[in-house]
Subunit: 261 residues, 2 copies
DNA sequence: CGCAGCTTTGACGCAGATCAATTCAAGTGG
DNA sequence: CCACTTGAATTGATCTGCGTCAAAGCTGCG
């Protein structure tokens, strides 16, 4: 049985035996975070990067007026704050949505990963796919009406879950509350509820106590103008730029582990 | 006089003389794209990466129902499609908003840039800052009311323009149409117009024929809950992770120039 | 002078917000 | 096994920010 990190990264790059072993090592040691808790502890000064290997987490921002906007969901196989690591900042606004298993990856270890050509490329790509998802969310929130907006989000999640074996096109595990959904899509809770009811009545999907069921995925995709391209799910194969992004280069971007200060 | 690319990258990393010369070389040859035209030509199969050195461009998506959503603005010093390059995809949905000067950077050249430790890091960071901006846009569109939403966007643009010397906190050059604004912020054109009028009446800013004037930046920032942190403007200095992201590593991510196929 | 693109106005309607309960599901402790 | 609590889903009523439609000014330009 493969670990979710391997499953995920395999989407972006072909992995060797050594790479896989490395990833298995990474995933070996994890801690549990209860639903509702912060993934990045409030007290300590967190180093390195956090990785979700079980459960759901989200990144969010709360405005001074109290409104919360969820900006991303992290599911098994997703890094929480790789971008923050590279930028040299910290982001503590990451909360477990369900009970999570998270791995703390030390800066040294991340550096080691990044120094492997294939893994380094996979990480970079992971982060760019995240970026692509953010773009699509902007389109979703900015340009779609409530029902299509929800439908689109559901389509995205089901495909992402599928990669790591947590769902297929008929449904899966989605521990997201209506209130979370509202804060994700820029809708009010009440309106989210009514839209969900209507989508349900239309026979498009049901979301009940963490269980997502999709009678007809194609129709769901259709009404939301869902185009999976932005998820870049089939990259390891159609890698046209491969030639430019592979081995034997004189310089490099990442570097050997050196403790800070 | 520094070129905008250098100005931009200097924000993220300290540059050596050799790096600067390299960047000057890159910027030496450019072509003009008329307002309204696509930056990535429709006919050819574009390779490499495009860089804006003068004028404004935007990335957008048009839904089947005709709605257009602008997802990002590219101003002098910004790469248009670095992410697409790394992902091995193409994005043609990039349009010049005003007349632009754009540089076509060949794949080989990009690879060379990326192979320099400092520049490679700067590029990665550029892309992560873009990601950070996308997150903030989600918050903006999802959680702020029309006027604050517009105000926040203005704050962001003025700071970005400031970096490359196209504005200061009292105003600058912003060739964006009300219709563009509407498609950027998920508002209707009419409502955008009325909100702009009200913001003007409140003495917050005026936007007239590409000229942006801001009598009181602080108040503008205040009403939109603007927090510049997400732009990561002062990174070259407070670089805590520097140690992990510098030189002399055995492996690498990017690679020597090798023509495709 | 007369398009053509942008801004502005007016009138009207609705999607979605807000407020305020109520119901339901699933623990939890006695 | 049942009161009691708590968080989530649901419902009803009301209101409004923002969208839509349609037309009229502006302004720069060929």
């Amino acid at each position: 049985m493969q670990n979710p990190l391997t499953k995920r990264l395999e989407r972006y790059v072909a992995l060797g035996k050594f790479d896989r072993r490395m990833l298995d090592d990474i995933v070996a040691e994890s801690r549990e975070v209860a639903a509702g808790e912060h993934v990045v502890g409030d007290g300590d000064d967190p180093q390195g990067v956090r990785l979700i290997i079980d459960g759901f987490a989200c990144r969010y921002k709360t405005l001074p007026d109290g409104k919360r906007q969820i900006v991303a969901y992290m599911i098994p196989g997703d890094f929480c704050d790789l971008y923050a690591f590279v930028l040299g900042k910290r982001n503590r606004n990451i909360a477990a949505i369900s009970t999570c298993r998270v791995v703390d990856i030390s800066p040294e270890r991340i550096a080691t990963l990044m120094s492997r050509p294939s893994l380094g490329r996979a990480l970079w790509r992971t982060s760019l796919v995240d970026e692509s998802i953010l773009s699509e969310w902007i389109v979703n929130i900015g340009a779609r009406a409530a029902e299509a907006r929800i439908a689109h989000f559901i389509c995205e999640m089901i495909l992402r879950l599928q990669i790591v074996g947590l769902a297929d096109l008929t449904g899966g595990y989605l521990p997201i509350t209506q209130s979370d959904l509202a804060d994700t899509l820029g809708l009010s809770l009440v309106h989210t509820n009514r839209s969900l009811q209507h989508l349900r009545a239309r026979g498009l999907f049901t979301l009940n106590r963490s269980r997502l069921d999709i009678p007809d995925f194609d129709r769901l995709a259709e009404i939301s103008f869902f185009d999976r391209a932005y998820l870049h799910l089939d990259m390891a194969t159609d890698d046209t730029q491969q030639a430019y992004l592979s081995n034997d280069v004189p310089g490099e971007i990442m570097s050997s582990p050196k403790p800070p200060v």
